[in-house]
Symmetry: C2
Subunit: 144 residues, 2 copies
DNA sequence: CTCACTGCAAAGAATTTGCACTGAA
DNA sequence: TTCAGTGCAAATTCTTTGCAGTGAG
């Protein structure tokens, strides 16, 4: 089901601002904060209010059409969410984000922790940080 | 090495506000945002500025004496960090936070993802969300 | 046609900065 | 005694809300 269908399915309208925000997130390689989405829209010649960006992102988040990515310093930004459960690797160099799946690999750990702590675990947050291939090369060049 | 020693070691002074913030975090079962730390200080009859709370938390974070915990809605809060690498489980009921170790269990996954993506992974963020034993009981009672 | 959605302007939070004063070493 | 650290007040973000106008269905 396309995101347009999901929106409508959930009882929302398919409007210009929502299209623009989705298009921008779709073209973005890195996670974007609301103001960044707004700026890109302006650069692309689109007109939309910053307020709509906030409201649209909140809505898309609720519908799981976008996800939050957390940075170690305590900021968070939005990326498009592909269907299904995914995790992200974030490049510390260029902030590019790549998805990977593999929740299964956590099952053993989850079970162990549940047993040890008595908690009933129902969700998790997993992200990796590192350097993408391009940035690794850039660093290598800089050093040599 | 105690946190006091770590502070001094790093060239900082051991001041009243820093003691107060550490004491409050030490007594807190749940992660606290800056304003919450500030309020608790007031309740405890301590006098310190909100600004100092911000500055102190930033410093403690830099020294790894405290860590950030992320909530799914996009907020983050501070908890005391015990030495060594740890992860957190956060209770969705009472926000209590418990630490667990087990980075080793991620090694296999890390290796696989590195190979698949070409990224060079050097850090990760892992948190579990769920219900602590007490809150599980509370829910069970409510239903019955 | 209607009502959900938009965009402005304004309010409200959250966080940072400038600066004179204070107290840890 | 000295300078790092504090606390206030003000500045700067960041985010939310009220409300009249607009356009998707």
């Amino acid at each position: 089901m396309s995101w347009q269908e999901q929106l409508v399915e959930a009882g929302y309208r398919l409007t210009r601002p929502r299209r623009i925000v989705m298009e921008i997130l779709n073209n973005a390689r890195a996670p974007l904060v609301p103001s960044a989405v707004f700026k890109r829209a302006q650069c692309d010649g689109h007109s939309l209010g910053l307020v709509s960006v906030y409201r649209t992102l909140a809505l898309l988040l609720e519908l799981d059409l976008v996800t939050l990515v957390h940075f170690s310093e305590g900021c968070h930004a939005y990326v498009l969410a592909s269907p299904g459960h995914h995790h992200h690797i974030i490049c510390s160099g260029c902030e590019e984000v790549i998805e990977f799946s593999g929740a299964e690999d956590l099952d053993a750990l989850t079970a162990r922790v549940q047993q040890e702590t008595g908690f009933h675990i129902d969700d998790h947050l997993l992200q990796f940080y590192g350097l993408c291939p391009a940035c690794q090369q850039a660093v290598a060049k800089k050093i040599s």
